[in-house]
């Protein structure tokens, strides 16, 4: 029977399957961060048990830590307590920590450091108490977010109880125009199909436009699978994947490498395998995308207009749009180009890798940011930060008048004090534009690093294609 990439990985990880019960699925890699793990470790203590496989468990600090400096102790008492708790928990249970004190040179957003360290590899099952764990699927891994009870289960048993999800192919044909990037692909898919379309499915992204993406771009696409409702998004591994992994800290070496690659080559979906659903997008006609509303599905091409609720037949959809436009203080039919902004945030597990920073720097080089706009550039990891500084990108940003910060989630989730003020507009390269996500009362436009950088210069929503050199 021809099988999909997902089915091959799933079948290879089923430990047990009782009738009428979910499968017991073995987990190869468990990533842990400070916000969704404390109650899970406490659960282990209450049961008097150890972490089953500390060698398959790695922790970092990213959500709540400050990004203005690396001074410790940190000022926010609650956040300080949470990170101290992670230090205690990882020490007590024998887990490697990439923290502010321990191995700080490798600290970063959990979905940036996994791939960067070579922990993320094809064919693996990967979980983390964070919904954007879908990012790692870019390597041809089955990777998804879990809640804290499930974190406790994986710490205890290295397994998860899972019902087999359905599979959906997301086919992207054609070729992107200049100025249109991976972020625009995924925003367009979500705008086209909505935020619930992927519920119950694992996405596999296929097609010419996906194949030519580099690994960082593939991660951007898979990252936002969850915004389309899918817990996981995957891309078949190929030479691009293997080249990225080769030589990284945890990558297999020597004869083990050759053996691993020959196994990984068997993973792609077989000819004739079928999916439960199919979605598609044409890359040729895509323009830079931007959201206008309060969920990631409320998006349009940057030259588009805010939709008119009066045009929506479905009453609940109409009401949802009215509410969103009220929150965003945007008018039906107004163009998005030219909309004034207050803040630009370039960062998050969606777009904080070196290629994202290079994109932003290419636009900002030799230009000044608009004096009315605060621009924050937050690298995804300490390693990304060093790499950017070695290339001189930090100077490009500083000379343009942008803030160059330390690695963390920062204004993506606004837990650490990096946040919008009520009523402010931001262009953000992150993944969620929910009400209050980037600060109570803050209003978010999601876009690519190119669009964000262009808008930082002009102070208004801008079509980056007019600024490319």
């Amino acid at each position: 029977m021809p099988q999909t990439l997902f089915e091959k990985i799933w079948n290879a990880h089923v430990v047990a399957q009782d009738a009428d019960s979910p499968a017991v699925l073995y987990i190869d890699l468990h990533l842990v961060h400070e916000v969704t793990s404390p109650q899970a470790f406490e659960g282990l203590r209450n049961r008097g048990i150890k972490v089953r496989r500390p060698d398959r468990t790695y922790a970092t600090m990213d959500h709540g830590i400050p990004t203005h400096s690396r001074d410790i102790p940190i000022a926010d008492a609650l956040a300080a307590k949470q990170i101290a708790q992670l230090e205690t928990n990882t020490a007590e249970f024998g887990i490697t920590l990439y923290g502010l004190r321990q191995n700080a040179e490798k600290q970063g957003i959990v979905h940036v450091i996994g791939p960067e360290l070579g922990l993320t590899r094809p064919g693996m099952t990967i979980v983390c108490g964070d919904s954007h764990t879908s990012t790692h699927g870019a390597f041809g891994a089955l990777s998804f977010g879990i809640g804290t009870s499930e974190v406790e289960m994986v710490l205890s048993t290295q397994c998860l109880l899972q019902r087999k999800p359905g599979t959906a192919q997301v086919r992207v044909d054609g070729k992107l125009q200049k100025g249109v990037v991976a972020k625009d692909i995924i925003l367009a898919i979500i705008a086209k199909y909505g935020i619930g379309a992927g519920t119950g499915y694992v996405f596999e992204y296929t097609g010419e436009a996906i194949r030519i993406l580099n690994m960082e771009e593939r991660m951007t696409v898979c990252n936002m699978s969850i915004e389309g409702g899918a817990r996981a998004g995957m891309i078949a591994p190929d030479d691009t994947t293997f080249e990225y992994i080769a030589g990284r800290e945890f990558a297999p070496k020597g004869a083990n490498w050759d053996k691993a690659v020959s196994e990984w080559r068997k993973l792609p979906t077989d000819d004739g395998a079928t999916f439960d659903a199919t979605f598609s997008l044409d890359a040729d006609t895509l323009e830079p995308m931007i959201t206008y509303g309060t969920n990631p599905g409320m998006g349009t091409g940057v030259t588009g207009r805010v939709p008119d609720p009066a045009q929506l037949a479905d009453l609940s959809q109409r009401n949802a749009l009215i509410k969103a436009l009220g929150y965003m203080n945007l008018k039906p039919n107004q163009p998005l180009l030219g909309q004034a902004i207050d803040v630009v945030f370039i960062g998050s597990c969606t777009n904080s890798r070196i290629s994202d920073l290079r994109d932003a720097a290419a636009v900002m080089k030799g230009r000044r940011v608009n004096p009315n706009v605060r621009v924050m550039i937050v690298p995804g990891s300490a390693q990304v930060k060093r790499e950017a500084e070695a290339e001189g990108l930090d100077r490009v940003f500083s000379e343009a008048g942008a803030e160059w910060r330390e690695a963390g989630c920062s204004m993506c989730i606004a837990m650490n004090g990096d946040q919008l003020q009520p009523g402010q507009y931001a262009i953000s390269t992150s993944n969620r534009n929910f009400e209050g996500r980037q600060g109570k009362g803050g209003r978010t436009f999601l876009a690519s690093p190119l669009t964000a950088a262009a808008s930082a210069i002009t102070g208004v929503v801008t079509d980056v294609r007019t600024m490319l050199r």
Partner: protein, 195 residues
């Protein structure tokens, strides 16, 4: 976990669609290392003004809503992050069931592990429940997980789906982690074949 028994309750109707986890509990309340008191932060930005006073319009601030165990929500409830703080906040407040036409996958999983029943109904039933609440805000339902039914005030029963495993765990208060811990031998066998 406590056993999930049958009960009757009036409804809190919140018609908003796509209620995401940042609305259920904003991220600034995630800096906790326990699960205590999260019910106070449920729907915080809709529920309280900047000065911390309750917003009189928001439904949870209507006195008669206190103690109601059923939340009737708009389509696609619980999208967004994996934070289990969302069901912890809902159960902390006192909810035992959320009714919608669909739930985000991670939220649904998290709820089932915390004695919060995500009840999926079809569009017609959904609309009917909202109009019942509009006509009479004190509309009550009976929820019987064993029979998988909602009983409407007129006696009509609506069947809802749930997988057998989750149902058994909820009804008997079974700890899923304990269930998998008992599979130690199988896991060890899997690990040795994998090595």
């Amino acid at each position: 976990m406590e056993k999930y028994t049958a009960y009757n309750s009036k409804i809190v109707a919140l018609p908003n669609e796509n209620v995401d986890t940042d609305q259920i509990i904003p991220a600034r309340f995630l800096k906790v290392t326990d699960k205590i008191g999260l019910g106070d932060n449920l729907f915080s930005d809709w529920r309280y003004n900047a000065d911390g006073n309750p917003k009189p319009d928001f439904i949870l601030n209507h006195g008669e809503m206190k103690g109601r165990a059923i939340l009737l929500a708009g389509d696609n409830f619980g999208s967004g992050s994996s934070r289990e703080h969302a069901p912890w906040a809902l159960t902390g407040y006192g909810f035992r069931a959320v009714i919608s036409t669909s739930f985000a996958d991670i939220f649904r999983n998290n709820s089932l592990k915390n004695g919060l029943l995500p009840i999926i109904v079809d569009k017609d039933t959904h609309a009917q429940l909202f109009s019942l609440c509009e006509e009479d805000p004190d509309t009550a339902l009976a929820i019987d997980l064993t029979a998988q039914t909602l009983t409407l005030p007129d006696g009509r029963k609506v069947q809802f789906p749930i997988d057998g495993f989750s149902k058994t765990c909820l009804l008997n208060g079974i700890d899923e982690i304990g269930y998998v811990l008992h599979m130690d031998e199988k896991i060890t066998a899997f690990e040795s074949q994998d090595a």
